[in-house]
Assembly symmetry: D2
Homo-oligomer: 311 residues x 4
């Protein structure tokens, strides 16, 4: 990406964890932000060309995959390309207007996932408070800011800043290690992000039949080349019950010989592969078998010598 994207969509409104993820990437500098109310709309703005890229959540360490994002990547009209990933600790805080005390709170607002992740705190500290659902954690903060009642929101600290309210209690989630993985998604009309040395590659694989062992065969394409998988996830193809496609994340970059060869193997043995991008790993874990790239180069040189009779 010689020119950084200047218009970045994201799952809004302002004050969401997704906005926090977006603010953490270099592409965000000097860019204009375009909060969208749904994942589909954020991604649609990229497809239309209204935005250069969109930041959306892909999976959470507690809740699992974000199906809207997966389905857009797998089934959307045009192929998209993941340019970057962000791993963000999901530190949920209790947010309220200045002056409101914990003992006063009569209701707690958040999106259902937010509430689900704070059950222990709510039952021990606010057992009598009413729980009210909102469409995002940021929306909860906005409503709290507007209300005159002693109510609170469960959301990101960034939402307090955004809506001019306070963080009353920090880190009230049940699972202190909860993280969300976000991806910055662009159009696939340019080459993948340059290799960083600690890369991840994502694809979706479709099978045309359900012959036994189809998934096994696909995994073998990675295994025989020493390419480690970091995640595999199935999604229904929506055509009929029992038909699935598979999202696979592996270590390495599409420009690596072994990753390229594995992808060609998938292509040959499946009904279709959507390449979703190669991009730097947010956890900066170097590829376990990085040294093997030299083995591929050596083997290719050997094969050429054999084929030309110069061995």
């Amino acid at each position: 990406m010689s020119t950084p994207p200047s218009r970045l969509a994201y799952l809004g409104p302002p004050g969401t964890f997704t906005e926090a993820a977006l603010l953490s990437v270099p592409e965000a500098k000097f860019a204009t932000f375009d909060p969208r109310s749904t994942i589909s709309e954020a991604i649609a703005s990229v497809r239309r060309g209204d935005a250069d890229a969109a930041m959306v959540p892909l999976e959470n360490s507690v809740e699992g995959s974000v199906n809207f994002t997966l389905d857009e990547l797998a089934f959307g009209a045009d192929e998209l390309s993941i340019r970057r990933e962000v791993l963000l600790p999901i530190t949920i805080s209790l947010l309220a207007r200045p002056g409101v005390a914990l003992a006063d709170i009569t209701a707690v607002l958040s999106m259902p996932h937010g509430v689900a992740q704070c059950r222990a705190f709510l039952s021990s500290q606010l057992p009598l408070a009413a729980i009210e659902a909102t469409t995002s954690t940021a929306e909860a903060a906005r409503l709290v800011a507007l209300s005159a009642e002693p109510i609170a929101a469960l959301g990101a600290p960034i939402a307090a800043t955004e809506y001019g309210i306070d963080v009353l209690v920090n880190d009230v989630g049940d699972n202190p290690n909860a993280m969300t993985r976000f991806v910055l998604v662009g159009r696939s009309s340019s080459p993948p992000s340059a290799p960083t040395g600690c890369d991840r590659t994502s694809v979706v694989v479709f099978n045309d039949d359900d012959h036994p062992g189809a998934l096994l065969e696909l995994l073998e394409e990675f295994a025989v080349r020493g390419v480690n998988l970091t995640r595999i996830e199935s999604r229904p193809t929506k055509e009929q019950m029992g038909r699935y496609c598979f999202f696979v994340d592996c270590e390495g970059h599409v420009s690596d010989a072994r990753v390229g060869e594995a992808l060609m193997g998938l292509k040959r043995r499946s009904a279709g592969v959507r390449f979703l991008g190669s991009y730097g790993r947010a956890d900066v874990v170097p590829v376990a078998g990085a040294v093997k790239e030299q083995e591929f180069t050596d083997a290719a040189a050997w094969l050429t010598a054999i084929r030309t009779g110069t061995a």
Copy 2:
């Protein structure tokens, strides 16, 4: 199950697709029904012994897995046992009070998934109607029945019967093949359901490390024994980002030699396996390799002869 369960919980309220699924099984005859407001509560009533079994949704051909159900099966305190599965076409209908015409409708109520599955109908037939979210399709029908306004609900035909309203338009979903797979879940303190000849077996497998190829090895345990997989689904273990367990459905019954041997293989090579049950397939597809059971019996007889010197 010599004595059929007499108390059956399900994801309510009355009028849901889950209730329709429950009504379709023989166990429902003579049983008392206990609608519960969440999947967790329905399953908790089984764990506590308040109910003998609970009917809950497991996956939908369009929306994918029902994570609440998966997480209860994988991480709940006690192991549960799937006794039966039901495949139900999800035929969403537009429900309204008698006398309300399509042209009059000002608002449509449903749970978000219900709305999502009827987008094409809504945009072409009711482009101006307001959309209002409810917690279930049955709740939408109940509210429509109570209201004096010309509003409608998107829900199961059974909900119209339940709440005394009419089916105004049948089958308004975008995807005419949409189906949901429900499971009737009991406690695991009794043997699995008896083999039917067209059975499915479900397990959850946990890995203690993330060594490359761990999933491949698990799949090989099935493949070498000719046991076909019908589904594989990953879920985060919630401990840290990047750690997953795997739900695997395979053909056959745990009492089959080859399924039993495959499960022992999983047990040996993984950090843990939760057996989720063997039960008749709702689609009554016979096991592709059923004849192979004889091969297992023959091989076992041969091995005994070798070991005893009577070959």
Copy 3:
């Protein structure tokens, strides 16, 4: 081979089945023949440059591999290249001087393998004849021609012609389907034989350790690419008991994408690979999965498009 070899060594003396194999190939036309008394000497003359190629037996359908040939190919100082293979039915005949009748025969001469393959004939038709060992079937014919006694040789019909004796009884071998596979071996300093569409490729693979599953891994390199194996044979490496190398014959030509990729896989995952040649199959069996070559080309084009952002 722009210029056909003009000096061809073979396992002699004249009149052997090996000479018959050599006569069957186009390279033999206009060439001078150099019979050598051992396989090692025939091959040594190629290594030294005294001969352009040597015809030697590789395996027999009854006796198995010809170890001298395998060891020369695997362990000889320089790599050699199989240029062609010949499949020859081994029709052993009883040869005697003109005028000698079956009832008169007092002794039968042949090399031990020849005798071993005619046991049934000898015990039923010549139960009282002495059996005498010679170093080749041709040598047996030569001795019979020189002798004044009523003795006979077991050998190739070509030996009768060579030494001026008669075929007394045709086809006296126990196994009417016995065949020997011969190979014409040249130096590896020129490119492999051009593809014929029905090719075979041969390699020897060495492992540096004996980790469990090493052979399995090597076979997987072929299997994942749909390359069929036609033969696998182990030979001791002679360093210590329990260490072996593996001769592998597969379908296809080293210039095929899938064969080349499989060979690179072997190269990467083993301690060493000796390429022994790609050459037309004598049985002219087309490669089972020939159509797959297009899949490799398509997959390579797809990968290039992904890497360059032109997909």
Copy 4:
């Protein structure tokens, strides 16, 4: 074997390495010995009941497999059972009558393999001596003892003792690590030898077709159960060119759960398996994964609990 065999056949004549191997086993104590002139005859005497067991060579670390032994085990009328294996260093000595000096020797006698293994010694120390072939190393020693000429034999030190001649030069073989593996073969009508903790199991596997990957599948049966292979060897089935059976040696005893399960897997997926015995390893290498036997026991207990509803 409650009663030790009292009649033991072996590949004779007296003075062979095979006799030395036989003398090293406990079964030889108090037994009567029956030297036979060929491997086939030694084994035939066991099949007929004339001998209780026969000691025969199976493979040599330099020369490879002994095909006569393999073919008897694979194709002989009745199944046999390997009771024990012996690893014997093949220390070839130059044997001559007392008083004969190295400088005097005019001819060297031995079987061809014996000559082949002493090439370096012969060319440097006895470049002018004639080489004469005999049918065994012991026969060479016998002829040397009978002759008045200054001739020598290449053979086992035991042959010098047997025929009353001297060891003139010790250890004249090219390969100081040369070893031969012998097996003591009995009838298969009794149970296998009792486990020793360091056992090996041998089988021959036949395939009914040549579908690609057949060998791979067989190896997988061992690999998925963590059973290490120590050797794999192919032999033609003698029916037609290109059809082979496979001799497989693996670690462990047929009474081990994992070995038994692997053998059942072979049985199911092949056209036939001949069990050739479980017996103590001569090199007393403990099974690498011995601890895994407990995993099999645990997995079996777990499966029983699942099947009976007592988990």
